[in-house]
């Protein structure tokens, strides 16, 4: 069972995000980065499939600057076999369209039964790359997947996916693109022995030229800004409870306009 897992490195969920003074992005200095949590579900699911079929390969494909190797290495420590690191300024911060183009180009050299993507990245929240990648590769796609059952002949899979208020079960021919949703599994830790072994696993570094792709971004980010700070609340003091309640109702109706 061969899986290609697309992985993105994102700021740690506990990071206090600040916009840089130019408004062109966030301050990346001094913040910790982690594997996008939805991609971690993907890594875990790919490893389980390989373990279940007792054969195959798990390849990690990541786009990003030098520091992204740390996330690839973590996935290798979890048990993945090898990594491909696309590191090119033209792609690293590009829009989902360009990222999907680069991923599709890199995927051409890899054998796979399934491509896993997180259903979204927790930093820019576009939720687009998995779908675009499937389009570029001409593959079927199943999004928001919470359960994967691959047929013994690896020609098809039964997948469970989140829909509003319930679950949908679909059957899909392989190869296909799956986007992972929370609930798919409980990712394992990168164990300490796994980290030692990962040191020796190969990570293939590539730029856009090596992939033979010139990406064309469709989106340009214009400006980053923080949400407006919450204004101080209003306190009603020094009144008897019945009068205070009347004031609160007035304020909710006339000022907040929510009742």
């Amino acid at each position: 069972m061969k899986s290609l897992v697309c992985l993105k490195q994102v700021p740690d969920t506990e990071t206090q995000i600040k916009v840089n003074p130019e408004g062109t992005g966030i301050v990346t200095e001094g913040i910790k980065h982690i594997i996008n949590p939805y991609d971690e579900f993907s890594v875990e699911e790919a490893l389980r499939l390989k373990e279940k079929f007792k054969e195959g390969e798990v390849v990690i494909l990541a786009i990003g600057p030098d520091r992204a190797t740390e996330s690839i290495r973590t996935a290798l420590a979890m048990g993945a076999d090898r990594g491909i690191h696309v590191n090119d300024p033209a792609v690293n911060t590009a829009d989902p369209f360009a990222v999907a183009q680069a991923l599709a180009a890199a995927a051409k050299d890899v054998q796979y039964d399934v491509i896993f993507c997180g259903h979204r990245a927790i930093d820019d929240d576009f939720c687009e790359v998995g779908a675009m990648l499937a389009e570029f590769l001409g593959l079927p796609q199943v999004t928001l997947v919470t359960k994967v059952e691959v047929a013994a002949d690896k020609k098809s899979a039964i997948l469970e996916r989140d829909i509003e208020g319930g679950k949908e079960t679909v059957e899909v021919p392989l190869p296909c693109v799956v986007t992972s949703q929370k609930g798919l599994n409980e990712p394992r830790y990168a164990s300490l022995p796994g980290i030692m072994k990962a040191k020796k696993k190969p990570i293939d570094a590539k730029n856009a030229a090596a992939l033979g792709v010139s990406v064309e971004a469709k989106l340009q980010s214009k400006e980053y800004s923080m949400p407006p700070e919450r204004k101080a609340g209003k306190k009603i003091e020094g009144l008897e409870p019945p009068d205070a309640a009347k004031q609160v109702v007035q304020a909710l109706r006339n000022e907040a306009k929510i009742i």
Binding site: R73, T74, Y189, S191, L192, P193, M196
Partner: protein
């Protein structure tokens, strides 16, 4: 001077950080109350490889070096101290005698089990009449045919109740004692005449047990003398070398706890309001926080430096390791005292972890060589230079 931490050690710290956050910290209060670590967590510690940090790779361990061990311990000490103690004897005093002085057969038989955590090992030196004066042990071993017969009582043995084996020190020559009359033995719990005695009632370190070990004509095969026949009478050196090696890691445990206390104190000072403003705005609190942070910073530099010396220069760090042990553990006790003060009445309550750290840290100045013994070691090294 390069303070860069290698990538694989950074990844290990990250794994431990997540393990602490997701698995250990949520149950640390429960473990404190029940005085017991759930088996499920010990299983996870095994899977993560935490029992084999210091064991050579050829015997199934990770051998991540002094800096690696210190970094893992530092991170693991930011929660209930019993978790670190659970893996502590396998990585430290319960295995290093065999790693340094054991025969090839002993290493092949015992180290893989210790490294995987399948077996827990412990170190049995202390006795009621022999603490800092370790040479005064009363447990004896007498050769009877193919076996040594051990008789005596050990106490304060960390992980004694869960141990599958122990490195035990006994007198084999009453006249020579520390000068050739003490021998180290590997004793398995199934050997006849080996008993776990009382589990001791302690001030803290709940979840980690220390117990008595009783040897009543306990029969130990001759080949279980650590280092074999030629090492009969050389056990005291094994004991001292083992303790030397553990000193840096004790510093790391104290440092991790102090760092956690600082983080808790800063957080609390910002949100606790008295006299109409957060107490963090009062200089009296600020100065305590500043002192805590400064001393932690100093401790970390000396710990990492000594670990780096041992890993890269291969030089003896006996003096530096004792300095690290005494300074970091005393620093952490001062930090714990200040943390209780910042938290005020809440710092004294069992609802918050601060009082637990305060109690647990008190032990770090005593076990694996008291502060006073460390100072003796430092002075001895100084004066012989």
């Amino acid at each position: 001077m390069d303070f860069t931490i290698p990538e694989n050690l950074k990844l290990m710290v990250e794994t431990v950080r997540r393990f602490v956050k997701q698995d250990l910290e949520p149950v640390s209060q429960q473990v404190e109350e029940e005085d017991f670590i759930p088996e499920e967590l010990v299983r996870k510690m095994r899977e993560l490889g935490l029992f084999g940090l210091s064991i050579p790779q050829e015997y199934g361990g990770l051998d991540i070096g002094a800096l690696g061990e210190c970094l893992v311990y530092e991170e693991l000490s930011k929660t209930n101290a019993c978790f670190r103690t659970r893996i502590g004897t396998n990585n430290g005093i319960g295995s290093q005698g065999i790693v340094m002085d054991g025969t090839k057969e002993q290493k092949e038989k015992y180290l893989p089990r210790i490294a995987s955590g399948e077996w827990t090992s412990c170190f049995a030196l202390s006795e009621p009449e022999a603490g800092s004066d370790a040479a005064n042990i009363q447990t004896t071993a007498e050769l009877k045919g193919d076996h040594w017969a051990l008789n005596g009582l050990k106490h304060f043995i960390t992980n004694g109740d869960v141990a599958d084996m122990a490195v035990v020190f006994a007198v084999t020559d009453r006249k020579k004692r520390a000068r050739g009359g003490i021998t180290a033995f590997i004793v398995e719990k199934t050997f006849p005449g080996f008993y776990v005695g009382a589990i001791e009632r302690k001030m803290g370190m709940r979840g980690s047990h220390t117990s008595e070990l009783i040897f009543d004509n306990c029969l130990v095969p001759k080949e279980n003398v650590v280092g074999g026949e030629p090492n009969v009478g050389r056990g005291f050196a094994t004991a001292m070398k083992t303790l030397d090696k553990g000193r840096l890691t004790m510093g790391a445990c104290a440092l991790g706890a102090a760092q956690k206390l600082l983080e808790l104190s800063v957080g609390y000072a910002k949100q606790r309001v008295q006299f109409g403003k957060p107490i963090a705005e009062f200089q009296a609190i600020q100065f305590m926080l500043a002192d805590m942070a400064t001393q932690i910073y100093a401790s970390r530099q000396m710990l990492y430096h000594a670990a780096w010396l041992r890993d890269t220069k291969g030089t003896s760090v006996i003096k530096e390791a004792s300095m690290v042990k005494v300074y970091c553990t005393e620093m952490a006790n001062r930090v714990a005292d200040m943390a209780v003060q910042v938290f005020g009445g809440m710092g004294y309550m069992k609802d918050l972890p601060v009082e637990r750290f305060y109690r647990d840290l008190r032990l770090t100045r005593i076990y694996e060589g008291t502060s006073e013994i460390q100072r003796l070691v430092i002075a001895r090294e100084l004066l012989k230079e």
